[in-house]
Point group: D3
Amino acid sequence: MFLSVKRLPHPIPPSDKPDPKAAQALQEGLGGQFGEMRTMMQYFFQNMNFRGDAKQYQDLLRSIATEEMGHVEQVANTINMLLEGATMTSEQPNDLPLSVALDSPNIHHFLVAAQSARPVDAAGNPWSASYVYDSGNLVLNMIYNLMLEATGRLQKCRLYEMSNNKAFRSTVSYLIVRDLTHEKVFAKALETLGVNWGKALPIPRIDTSGMPEVRELESKNLHNQMWTFTNKGETSEIGKIFKGDSPFDDGGKLELIEGFPEGANVPFFPEAPQEFAPGLDSELKKLTHGKK
Amino acid sequence: MFLSVKRLPHPIPPSDKPDPKAAQALQEGLGGQFGEMRTMMQYFFQNMNFRGDAKQYQDLLRSIATEEMGHVEQVANTINMLLEGATMTSEQPNDLPLSVALDSPNIHHFLVAAQSARPVDAAGNPWSASYVYDSGNLVLNMIYNLMLEATGRLQKCRLYEMSNNKAFRSTVSYLIVRDLTHEKVFAKALETLGVNWGKALPIPRIDTSGMPEVRELESKNLHNQMWTFTNKGETSEIGKIFKGDSPFDDGGKLELIEGFPEGANVPFFPEAPQEFAPGLDSELKKLTHGKK
Amino acid sequence: MFLSVKRLPHPIPPSDKPDPKAAQALQEGLGGQFGEMRTMMQYFFQNMNFRGDAKQYQDLLRSIATEEMGHVEQVANTINMLLEGATMTSEQPNDLPLSVALDSPNIHHFLVAAQSARPVDAAGNPWSASYVYDSGNLVLNMIYNLMLEATGRLQKCRLYEMSNNKAFRSTVSYLIVRDLTHEKVFAKALETLGVNWGKALPIPRIDTSGMPEVRELESKNLHNQMWTFTNKGETSEIGKIFKGDSPFDDGGKLELIEGFPEGANVPFFPEAPQEFAPGLDSELKKLTHGKK
Amino acid sequence: MFLSVKRLPHPIPPSDKPDPKAAQALQEGLGGQFGEMRTMMQYFFQNMNFRGDAKQYQDLLRSIATEEMGHVEQVANTINMLLEGATMTSEQPNDLPLSVALDSPNIHHFLVAAQSARPVDAAGNPWSASYVYDSGNLVLNMIYNLMLEATGRLQKCRLYEMSNNKAFRSTVSYLIVRDLTHEKVFAKALETLGVNWGKALPIPRIDTSGMPEVRELESKNLHNQMWTFTNKGETSEIGKIFKGDSPFDDGGKLELIEGFPEGANVPFFPEAPQEFAPGLDSELKKLTHGKK
Amino acid sequence: MFLSVKRLPHPIPPSDKPDPKAAQALQEGLGGQFGEMRTMMQYFFQNMNFRGDAKQYQDLLRSIATEEMGHVEQVANTINMLLEGATMTSEQPNDLPLSVALDSPNIHHFLVAAQSARPVDAAGNPWSASYVYDSGNLVLNMIYNLMLEATGRLQKCRLYEMSNNKAFRSTVSYLIVRDLTHEKVFAKALETLGVNWGKALPIPRIDTSGMPEVRELESKNLHNQMWTFTNKGETSEIGKIFKGDSPFDDGGKLELIEGFPEGANVPFFPEAPQEFAPGLDSELKKLTHGKK
Amino acid sequence: MFLSVKRLPHPIPPSDKPDPKAAQALQEGLGGQFGEMRTMMQYFFQNMNFRGDAKQYQDLLRSIATEEMGHVEQVANTINMLLEGATMTSEQPNDLPLSVALDSPNIHHFLVAAQSARPVDAAGNPWSASYVYDSGNLVLNMIYNLMLEATGRLQKCRLYEMSNNKAFRSTVSYLIVRDLTHEKVFAKALETLGVNWGKALPIPRIDTSGMPEVRELESKNLHNQMWTFTNKGETSEIGKIFKGDSPFDDGGKLELIEGFPEGANVPFFPEAPQEFAPGLDSELKKLTHGKK
């Protein structure tokens, strides 16, 4: 089972402007083949189907799977923030409150959803569970997961260079850092199984000094910290693996924290009558007691 | 964000026998169009994309979304329990340890996964995010969700009549009761918006006295109870909706409980060397310290 | 069986201008998850698979299924009208008669089809029969169908606000009104099963006075009229359900008409040699006797 | 627009026995890549998107599209007939009324549908509109359609040899003959464009004397007859093409008939309470007035 | 088995400018339903599954299948050429080296791939093996293949008219000519089975004098030449079919050549550090010895 | 470009018996997510999209891509061999020559194809190009490819234990050995980039002494040999990587061979008139000169 915490992992600043193109690009991080829905589901399945008594690996998968659930929220809320304000309220019969939709890369943001996130990738393809990999073989799963996090980080680095919208950059930078941590988790797990990575990792192998938002998060050691994401009183054996030196040649010291990060408020999204969302007229509003 | 609790919602008794056919049937409840992956994701998206200040509905969606995460675990573990023992360890060159796979309805249980659950439906189709519905319109979402839970319950009632394997029946019965509760949640939400359901609900409209496992759970009032699935100290406004009398003519009194149910232990699944899962030989085992 | 009537349900005025973006938006109404191909197929399957002797519901499904076949034609022809004139005939080697395709949201309109409609949604995804819902349970099917029509109407209201192209608006407005009628059909069917809708419906719950094209059709009572769409001499029991007062609080009086609406001419689309459509050279034309 | 005629093209005798395997095989003729849903939709789109004044080809497409709608009904009803009786009504808690589902090739017949047809092929894949072909080029469309009918006939000949269940054979034989007629329509259309087929057609090129059910239908000249499937009073130019000698070396004389074939009654399918279909309890039945 | 020859079939001139729109259009020729991946796979499967001793048809399929492998390379390399230069190297923190991606029709060219080709069509749909047709019936397969080549040529003629970018036009023109040759191969095969095509073919039936790049290739008789694409010393019976006069009324003389065309160099694509491709830093480069 | 060699990589002994279940299991090796169509296409795309001058990696990808083309043939032909004899020729009207199809796990083997291989996986899902991975990042691609080969080998080891049919085992064993070689290629490539694998590889980490068919091939050093699969006279830089000691602790000495293996004859598959394949009647046969 899981419990809800009504906080996002990381704050989302307001978008510089309504930005449907950045929103659509960021969909790759939500519903893409290497996005957060996929990492969440993949680790969840590997955790549930785990065989044998090497519990530290099973726990490790569970902690990351749980963190990824929060990443799904982080990305979806950022997409919503980027879309906010893109349409207008109709005042007169000749207004075209949703005309922006015809010039947006994914019209479904406005036509199927009410100016909000969709479980699709940046090219509009729906997420598919055929992405989920679970071979049952421990070494193989760890290699796959390492590759998955490295690909996620690679794509987020590419996203970083597509837009400097503040809302977009903030979340993308956060994920670049967290994907690096997860890459370390799986690289470390493979170290416990005898692999020495030399200088092959991390991927991409870059100097992040050109990415100030990333640098700032690294200055807080976020790229070396894992939370257990366990309910109070529960234990996790992930610490048998995630400890000591970083598996990369970056001099990092790994740090395990019980519980979850402090996080940030979940943004409030106002009514969008031009989208008929939530679409309550005055009589229905009286019933909901939402406004009195 | 979310937190992990290493408990299942409901205990899973051992399977009467290795039962790949029942396992494949139950896949519908996991990766089917009306299965637990879908309810979880649909409510999750509706929660994240919610617009306006009628927070009681947004909170309601979050509590159920969180409960469904545990249902995904419940079903996946039950599938694993049903598959357990279906194959044997090879002793000699002429043995065929996995020959059962050729007579099973989904060979992927043994060939792609290591005798374990897959994110597919009972006909083998991978789960697709094109199933996820979120119109942004509150009344419409509530009607869809009511229909979704009713369809889920209908399919589980049909599953109930396909097999009397104890592990299968236990989880199917639990879900019949929980889907009924969720049907009540959405019916009640629509009552707050003015609808009177008469005798049209629940669906299916049946006397459960022919289903002793279901009856037993109803005798504990499980069909009228909701948990908030919130972390300690968090509040939820779901109680503004889920209170008072059942929206159906069953005389139920709705009961909201803070937190989560006590639940049951997560089963342990042993190594399956014939599946190369986890596939650690003695040297790798030494490294994992799993066995010393 | 079915018979063809070479008339469209509603006239299509010429497009204000060649308008590939409006054409692509309107694809949602044709091949989208809540478009006309889907309603047509869903009611068709529910009609064919109907069980039991409550024939009024089976007949109701058949009448609407048949009407939807005409709606498929209405939308496809409107898309063709919107695309008409978008390309030009090549005169010289340096001309680029189809260059508009590179700036259009769905290049397949020009590359795969010959400047004409495709069985896809507004994001380019092919229609899938996995959309078709038929549970076999009468109450459940009616709830689903109500939701389906309400979602269709919601999306068409959003489309209305995306473009004021006259060809586009005419068909979109017609469908807003017809979807409302169909919403009434299913709401009424559920009334006969005991539900009282209060003020929860219709969806979206809006004042259409800001939509003059819709208003005009409502002034002809089109939002309260159903045809049987039966061949001369055939009877339909739909009238047992579709009669009396509107199920919504709009004061409407339901009206059932035998047969089908008068409709309008099917538009003629001229040859597009730049698309090689139909691609008959002078010798082949002599053979077809199309021109003499 | 279209009108409904509540008749099937061809009578369906009762199934020799409940036969889920034959039912699943026949799904290929419904939702397969070369089944009736596809032919119906392909000709429908080619008809709607037709360019130019060679109306005889456009009308030809419309007549066959309309006939295919009835074929969809024919096949779906036959599948339902084959499934009828496969499950039983539960009498006692230990009964397993739907256990047959676990041994059936498509469990969705019983779990998702209520013992009835699904829009999928014989391997369980949902029908996809990506099958629909419309190039806009007249010669090319005619060649594709010829190939489509020939493939349909080939698959139905293979189906014929898979089962001798009477309900199955009756519909399969009917379609073998109708597909042959449609093959002639498109071969003839290509003859008007200058092609001479020699002995290459029909496909498969077989002596049907080993198929008595087919032979009987041929003895009524059904393989040389086309109906216009037009509403009374409408004209169709298909007769400019479908006339004179068969395009194959079979000595046939083509015959065009205005209107539609006499056909047969649509079968009645009784309630299946074990499937909760239609799922009306005694109180709801009173409301529907279905039983008094 | 197959052997690699590191040559492209046809030279690719540099692109006039970085041209992501032309690149995306050309994806239809790679991963589209009628593109080169499909022809390659379809003929490959028909070759492998061939039944009977009519070896000339089996060999014919193999030669064309092998040629299509080279066409896949031709198109993918042309897409890469069109994308080359579209992004820039980042110099400073405020640069947006990949911002072009947000204005490109398929963001995946830059986000998933490293500014390079993808196995998708021009609308972004992944190639699917459900496109591959192999009925096992010889006449039917030949008709299908003829239609496939004609559709491929039709689409390439449409592409020709969308852009005059030199890199784009060069490859598109080459394929227009080769598809014509392949259309002749299958038309000829059907001639050997008794069909006479009259003036119905080729499709599209156009005068290519308005297409100077095509004309030039035809002046070298490329539209009448087939290579065997066999390894030195191997024989092929394709010459039993591909010989004598063209099956169309174009006066062509068919010419079979053993081996493969001379072809052109494969282009070199430089590193794109902004895409992290190949992403080797100076230390890794030392290891690869790529630079010393 | 590529050249055809009409030889299979490895001989296929006759099947012990017609074996549709083994045939369907083996489909995973052809059209599965980790089957030969995927490895072939993935390496082909990585080769075409390669950036930079580290040619030894680009050549390595090309050699393996080319080998995989032959593996596609190997698996497809083995499936055909397993299906051979499964149906019978009809002699009399009451015969059911294809009735075996109704009891086979994939009826499409007999209904869509003519008793032959299909581009689908063992659960019937069509192969999809969404499987193809090419990030453009060299290290990442190499890690992915290593994982891909290891998963392929894992699945083939599982297949080995499902059936002891000789035709099946022969090809499966061959692929177990070749996948091991390819695993070594990519492990070695990563060694050149600094990784030390310790005892983590190969996967699965098993003693193959219980697999006599595998052992026999290993005794010929097939698990340490790579061919260049280049045309005579072409060079390949793969030898810069594939040389020296095996990257695993198995004591192997890597051996590079120019050209291709000797291989075996391609099997001949006779006509199957019950499948209408190739479906030539005596008159058409005269035309093909296949029989005189």
